[in-house]
Structures are given as structure tokens and as C-alpha cells.
């Protein structure tokens, strides 16, 4: 079975400051890794994903995440946040190549961007 730990439940940050959201996972098999964002009163939107290849993946809105297999981590970073980045962020994994692609989520990190 897989498990995901997001080490920070809340992260307050000032506008234009950098932010890092930590995610560690546990799995006995290879996994795909995802970051989802949930804005207030909305469903989840995929932010970025790691399937294979380069360990650094980027989103179109300035976020990036780095897969570290030895540390079983997939931390999310943004060098300069905007007020509109205020949301809850979820790290998730799914087993590589197995039938059934259920996502196992972490508990989420709430980001509050202050002006």
C-alpha cells in the first residue's frame, strides 16, 4: 500500500515571496506522483505530474516539483507567489503500471498568501 505525508498543514507566505510545500511518500513499488490544487468551494485541478524522465517537472503557472527517489519526496516550489495562489494543495501517488489507477492523497497543505 502507498501512503503520502504532507509535512505542513498550513503555510502562510507574503506575496512575491517563495514557497515550498513538502511531500513524502511511502511505497513498495514504483509510483506516479501528482500535485493537485483545490481553490475554495471547487474540485481538484491537476497542477503537475511526474511519470518518468526528468526529475524536475514544471507547471504553466510557475510551480515546479522535483522527484527525489532516494528521499521518496516530491516537494512543490514556486519562486514568487501571487494572491491568487491562495488554495489547498494536495500531493498524490498512484501505482506504476497496475490495473486501477486510484490516487492516494496526502492530508493537504493550505497556502495563505498575504499582501
Amino acid at each position: 500500500a502507498q501512503s503520502v505525508t504532507q509535512l505542513d498543514s498550513q503555510v502562510p507566505v507574503f506575496e512575491e515571496a517563495p514557497v515550498e510545500l513538502r511531500c513524502n511518500y511511502s511505497s513498495s513499488v514504483s509510483v506516479y506522483l501528482f500535485w493537485y490544487v483545490q481553490y475554495p468551494n471547487q474540485g481538484l485541478q491537476l497542477l503537475l505530474k511526474y511519470l518518468s524522465g526528468s526529475t524536475l517537472v514544471e507547471s504553466i503557472n510557475g510551480f515546479e516539483a522535483e522527484f527525489n527517489k532516494s528521499q521518496t519526496s516530491f516537494h512543490l516550489r514556486k519562486p514568487s507567489v501571487h494572491i491568487s495562489d491562495t488554495a489547498e494543495y494536495f500531493c498524490a501517488v498512484t501505482k506504476w503500471g497496475a490495473a486501477g489507477n486510484k490516487l492516494t492523497f496526502g492530508g493537504g497543505t493550505r497556502v495563505l498568501v498575504k499582501p
Binding site: 503520502v4 468551494n41 490495473a99 489507477n101 486510484k102 492523497f105
Partner: protein
């Protein structure tokens, strides 16, 4: 192109009652997964339907059941509601039941059990 839609958006039920939630997948998708998101927590996988069959199930009791129709839409049924069933229920659709395909989420149905 319509994304994943869910109905109703909000629902209030009494303990012991039964509820049915509905989901229409994104156009072209054939796989539907259901998740329960309790307040302040991450989503928990309930089950997944592919080719009208339940293909995978999480750690939820038999009170939770589902169905997928030939047009790929899906229903989630919960019997004998408990207070602890209060949550946001999310539906996600994808193409195929393998991990590489992105799951698209609907806005959810907020269920309150009183």
C-alpha cells in the same frame, strides 16, 4: 467541451436515510472514480468503475455502492447514513483505468448528515 459534472451540488440528509449522487464524466472518458473528502482532510478513494464494473475499491463499508451506465455516467449510493458520512464527494473521470492517464475532477457534492 464539458468537464466532469456532478449533481446535486449540496444535499442535507438525516441519519439512517439513503442518498444517491450522480456524475457525468468528461467527454471521451470511460472510467469514473469516487472519492470522499472529509473537512480538513485529503480525498479518500471509495471505488472505481470501468466497463460498467467495479474495478477497485478502497476501505469503505458495503453501505457505499455504485453503478456505471453504458454512457459512462455513474452513481454513488450510500445507505443507512451516519453523521460521519458528512463530506465532499468528488467524482473523477479518466480515459482507461491505468495510472498514466490524468484524472479530471468534478466540483463535488457536499453531503451533510444531521
Amino acid at each position: 467541451d464539458a468537464g466532469v459534472t456532478q449533481s446535486p451540488t449540496h444535499l442535507i440528509k438525516t441519519r439512517g436515510q439513503q442518498v444517491t449522487l450522480r456524475c457525468s464524466p468528461k467527454s471521451g472518458h470511460d472510467t469514473v472514480s469516487w472519492y470522499q473528502q472529509a473537512l480538513g482532510q485529503g480525498p479518500q478513494f471509495i471505488f472505481q468503475y470501468y466497463e460498467e464494473e467495479e474495478r477497485q475499491r478502497g476501505n469503505f463499508p458495503d453501505r457505499f455502492s455504485g453503478h456505471q451506465f453504458p454512457n459512462y455516467s455513474s452513481e454513488l449510493n450510500v445507505n443507512a447514513l451516519l453523521l460521519g458520512d458528512s463530506a465532499l464527494y468528488l467524482c473523477a473521470s479518466s480515459l482507461g483505468d491505468r495510472g498514466v492517464h490524468e484524472q479530471y475532477f468534478g466540483p463535488g457534492t457536499r453531503l451533510t448528515v444531521t
